[in-house]
């Protein structure tokens, strides 16, 4: 049984078609990198798996059942929007989401405390959790968010741009950590990112979205001139230098530093200026 299966799915957001007639399946224990130009719909795709965006047509199933909100088998790390409360301790921040949907006072039962402690231990953040969030670096905060996503022992981790605003060293740290969790917990991972290269070696397959389409396959299958040209809607050249891969649109790198923005325009409030196929090279 696939962890996530898209069957002829069409997704729309505010009247705009994000994905059209898309099909793919993510298998258990797979680490899948989610890539694509800005505004291509990476976040919308993740929100659809969470049941927050209903497909216009087609069927999305998660672990054999229809995608619905509140599936405890799905862990989620939302894109950082900068509005975190900096005065709170890491522990309280992570603990707030342990059975956070239940009514009553936010007091944790012993079993829930253990769950939080275990999740913090899994990401090596037990000591970090004692400090206020304001004292932590971006990479450390990302680890706390990751431990939050592990609460409830999910079978699938959806990570929306966990590398944004991190320097290369911390990016490496987060990727290694996710790869280890994937390996040792056996949970499937869908990891969206702006850049391909940091994920090479860690991910098993890549899901590339662009111009309403999505292609899932190994890096060798997907990151090729013909496939990416189709997804970008323009001539794309793929260069390999050593172990690194450069995706070039004309004379510019189509994915890379140019993509590193805080807001890539496909949150709940999409900017109209990113068409589904708008590739993002600065001419």
């Amino acid at each position: 049984m696939s962890v996530v299966a898209f069957d002829a799915v069409t997704l729309e957001l505010a009247g705009r078609t994000i994905l059209s007639d898309v099909g793919f399946a993510i298998e258990p224990s797979e680490f899948v990198g989610l890539l694509g130009p800005n505004g291509a719909g990476k976040t919308t795709l993740i929100r659809a798996i969470l049941g927050l965006v209903r497909p216009r047509r087609g069927r999305i199933s998660v672990l054999g059942r229809e995608a619905v909100r509140g599936n405890p088998a799905v862990g989620y790390l939302p894109q950082v929007r900068g509005q975190t409360d900096l005065k709170l301790s890491g522990w309280d921040f992570v603990a707030s989401s342990a059975s956070g949907h239940r009514w009553g006072l936010p007091r944790l039962a012993t079993a829930e405390r253990h769950e939080v402690a275990l999740a913090l231990d899994l990401v090596g953040a037990t000591a970090l959790a004692e400090r206020p969030l304001g004292e932590l670096s971006g990479g450390e905060r990302q680890r706390l968010l990751l431990s939050q996503a592990l609460l409830g022992r999910p079978k699938l981790l959806l990570l929306d741009e966990p590398l944004v605003n991190l320097d290369p060293t911390h990016q490496r740290g987060v990727i290694d950590l996710v790869a280890r969790l994937n390996r040792e917990l056996g949970c499937a991972v869908l990891f969206s990112a702006h850049e391909l290269n940091p994920l090479l070696g860690a991910m098993h397959r890549v899901l590339y979205v662009g111009r309403g389409q999505a292609v899932l396959g190994t890096v060798d299958e997907v990151i090729t001139g013909p496939v990416l040209s189709r997804l970008y809607g323009s001539e794309i050249e793929v260069l390999r230098i050593g172990r690194r891969i450069f995706v070039m649109a004309g004379d510019n790198e189509a994915e890379g530093e140019a993509h590193r923005h805080d807001d890539d325009g496909h949150g709940p409030h999409p900017h109209g200026d990113h068409g589904p196929g708008a590739h993002h090279h600065h001419a």
Partner: protein, 305 residues
């Protein structure tokens, strides 16, 4: 000897203070209001909605003056108006978030209307001062009962929604994905805020609502990074400020609201200093400021999910 004498004198005067019925009522009323404001205020500050609280009090002014004009109790006019405005704000939710100018304009118009209502009913012009700056000494027994019962309902409701509210306040996207009814919580919370604002108005007035709703909560958050401690501390500080203010007003004959605002400002200032020094008097365990890289030697805890 002289010191003992002074202490006895002070004690005697405090006892005399509590001999008066209006003072006892004032203590109870301000106590009820302070605890409610302290509890609600914590979440208000956490959710970055303090401006909404401020706006609600201005809308309440219109409600109160309008009520005076048509001859009903200003308190119920106030509660009715803040409640309606609170529900509207909660419903509009995020759409309102970025519209500071729209909120600002609405509350100016509301205050202006309130002024007009007062103008028509000049006999009660003294009400203006009471509404704007509070008059806790004027609270009577029946008003106290209204305050207490409304506060009880609000605190119980807050207790019921506290857990998902905290989650939704800290991690709205995650909470939504986990099936928390984020919109309904936002509306329910704004209704509670509306009641708390209306009640605070009775003690410190429309213009000084911040002093009870925001001051203690913000100070508490500077003093501790724990949610439970901060909420308790917020209510405790609000209560201490209200009662100390009332007592100081009795001794000095200066306005109660002045003393409460002064204390609230002082406590907030001190909390800033403590925050700058990174003092956390309520820290439970000693934190280890050691940065650990994610380690891979915890396989035994990993293998049995």
């Amino acid at each position: 000897m002289a010191r003992t004498h002074t202490a006895t004198m002070v004690l005697e005067r405090i006892t005399t203070m509590l001999d008066y019925d209006f003072m006892r009522t004032a203590f109870m009323a301000s106590g009820v209001v302070a605890i409610l404001s302290g509890l609600v205020g914590y979440f208000l500050v956490l959710r970055n909605q303090t401006f909404a609280g401020h706006a609600l009090s201005h809308v309440g002014f219109t409600g109160a003056t309008g009520a005076i004009l048509v001859g009903i109790s200003p308190f119920w006019g106030l509660v009715g108006f803040t409640l309606m405005a609170g529900l509207a704000m909660g419903t509009l939710g995020e759409k309102l978030g970025a519209r500071d100018v729209a909120i600002g304009m609405t509350l100016s118009v509301a205050l202006g209307l309130g002024l007009l209502f007062l103008h028509f009913y000049t006999a009660f012009a003294t009400q203006a001062t009471a509404l704007l700056f509070g008059n806790v000494l004027g609270v009577d027994r029946s008003a106290l009962v209204s305050l207490a019962s409304l506060a009880l309902v609000s605190v119980v409701t807050l207790g019921v929604i506290a857990r998902p509210l905290l989650f939704a306040s800290l991690q709205p996207e995650l909470a939504e994905a986990k099936g928390v009814p984020v919109r309904i919580l936002a509306i329910a919370f704004m209704a509670i805020v509306a009641v708390a604002v209306a009640e605070s108005t009775q003690v410190v007035g429309v213009l000084l609502v911040f002093t009870l709703m925001v001051g203690p909560a913000a100070a508490a958050r500077n003093l501790t990074s724990r949610v439970g401690t901060a909420v308790t501390l917020s209510a405790g500080l609000a209560l201490a400020e209200a009662w100390t203010g009332l007592t100081l007003a009795w001794f000095t004959n200066w306005p109660v609201s002045f003393w409460i605002t002064a204390l609230s400002g002082l406590v907030y200032g001190l909390s800033l200093c403590a925050g700058a020094l990174r003092l956390d008097p309520f820290r439970r365990r000693t934190a280890q400021p050691v940065e650990r890289a994610p380690t891979i030697d915890r396989a035994e805890s990993l293998t049995s999910p």
